[in-house]
Symmetry: C2
Subunit: 309 residues, 2 copies
């Protein structure tokens, strides 16, 4: 049996898992990314957490460590300009961890990790050309062309979260305006909800402190109109942008991945409506939009772990 | 020496050339595509013109026939839904020509043909990841990833001309609104000029019958403000859209190809300004926008011919 360690670095949480080649997660831990305000403190915490795994399994028994992170460059090992992470300097995370662990370490964009995970453990096992869209603290795309991740010349291909969804729209952390992720990330969705709540007095969302996408989902399935409208608006914007990306890359499938995907049909239906309404005819019969096939809760770790397996 | 026949099917002209492996064009002819209103009549005319070449060189001496056409599907041999061609039925042009010529026939999107031409004869000989943007009757993109044309699941990847440049903008032949090619194709540019002429009485373009992009170029280099503004508007829209496509595919170079590219800096400068102003920081140092390196006048034929060589 082969084992690897998968690390998913998100703006909110960092999750670490010990995974076997069948996709079983044998050990798992997580901590809050946002509590570590400098990259130095973050690397110390991350290394500590990884080290604990080696009390259970010796370092020599693992194939390596796979890391999925926003704005991660597979070519250089750097995380650069990651607007959703608490520190803002560029760090060579592969080199920094190599100082502590003598094992292969592979870094990739979190969305690329999700796409490889989808190929290895999910719904894309037999597909050549597909896209995995990650909806979380940010919005990313892992684009697979002829069974290979599209990295591009810079290593940063797939930054769909920063395509412009609304001209002169919401301010994005990247410094530009109207980026897709200001509307379709978890924070973007909450922002949309807050805008709608202000205009509607009778929503179940009124008065909820620290509103989350889970609150919006729970209200939506109880029939709350505002919450349903939040998913409709989000899906409409995302579906439109996916139609644009399809014109460029022509996938056979687009998989929706991440916390927001838990809303299933509530988010999937408006995405599909908007997508097919805005798609050029010639593509309409060739593209399907589905939910990720990776198991809930462990998908990102599996994706990261699959980078080395 | 190896020879091939390159055919460039455009909405205005069909050009046919006999090309050797060094890129020399030994014979060349053209006719008006738009005069052949049915695909049957068009295939007869095209076959007649090709046949004339075999008075000079025997069929056995050529490697094959390469065809670049809008909405051409490399996988199936079909031209489908080609809004810029005079007939509107889907035709299997490879099969129809195979009835007349017993030689390998390769069909590709005209933009893909241009991109392969750029790799074989132009400025992209040593590049792995680049895009060729064709500006003509339509607007297309030939996207090269790791030295291979991106076809996607449908064979229609690279349809950048139908990405939405202006929400609820000009009516496109595809049935949708605001497509990039309604602004940046030759017709789109002329439309922009007409709109500006209406509002400005002192342009050199006033009173020109059947206004062409060449008229606009000639007026622009004489200092005509309206004509310069036409190129500025066109470049601004195109540069913006190229920044979006770069987020998805991350090329190292984007080459501008086609008749409009003859305007050189007049179109290139506003494209670059808009492109870099709208690009996510992390890509800014990794992408260059240049003119195609294929020789003026023969570029599309060379691209088509390179499909078989």
């Amino acid at each position: 049996m082969k084992y690897s360690i998968g690390i998913d670095i998100g703006g909110t949480n960092t999750e670490i898992g010990l995974v076997d080649e069948t996709g079983q997660i044998l050990l798992k831990t997580k901590f809050h990314t946002f509590e570590y305000l400098t990259s130095e403190k973050y690397i110390i915490k991350l290394s500590d957490e990884i080290s604990k795994f080696f009390e259970t399994i010796p370092l020599q028994k693992i194939e390596g460590i796979g890391i999925g992170a926003p704005m991660a460059n597979h070519f250089t090992g750097f995380i650069e300009d990651a607007h959703n992470l608490p520190w803002h300097n560029n760090i060579n995370i592969v080199k920094l961890l190599k100082n502590n662990f003598n094992t292969p370490i592979v870094l990739s964009n979190d969305a690329n990790a999700a796409a490889i995970g989808e190929m290895v453990y999910g719904n894309a096992k037999d597909l050549d050309n597909f896209i995995v869209i990650t909806l979380g603290t940010g919005v990313g795309a892992g684009i697979v062309i002829n069974k290979k991740i599209l990295l591009g010349a810079s290593g940063y291909a797939g930054e769909i979260g920063h395509t412009t969804a609304i001209i002169e729209g919401r301010q994005c952390n990247c410094g530009r305006k109207g980026c897709l992720e200001t509307y379709c990330s978890a924070n973007g969705i909450i922002e949309t909800a807050k805008e709608l709540i202000e205009k509607n007095n009778d929503s179940l969302l009124h008065g909820i402190q620290n509103l989350s996408t889970i609150d919006i989902y729970n209200a939506a399935i109880k029939g709350d109109k505002v919450s349903n409208e939040v998913f409709n608006i989000t899906g409409k914007i995302l579906g439109y942008q996916l139609a644009q990306a399809t014109l460029i890359t022509s996938p056979s499938h687009i998989f929706i991945f991440g916390g927001v995907a838990n809303a299933k049909d509530l988010i999937l239906n408006p995405i599909r409506n908007s997508f097919y309404n805005n798609l050029l005819n010639v593509f309409k019969s060739s593209v399907k939009i589905e939910l990720s096939g990776l198991p809930q809760g462990n998908a990102a770790i599996l994706g990261a772990a699959s980078l080395v397996l």
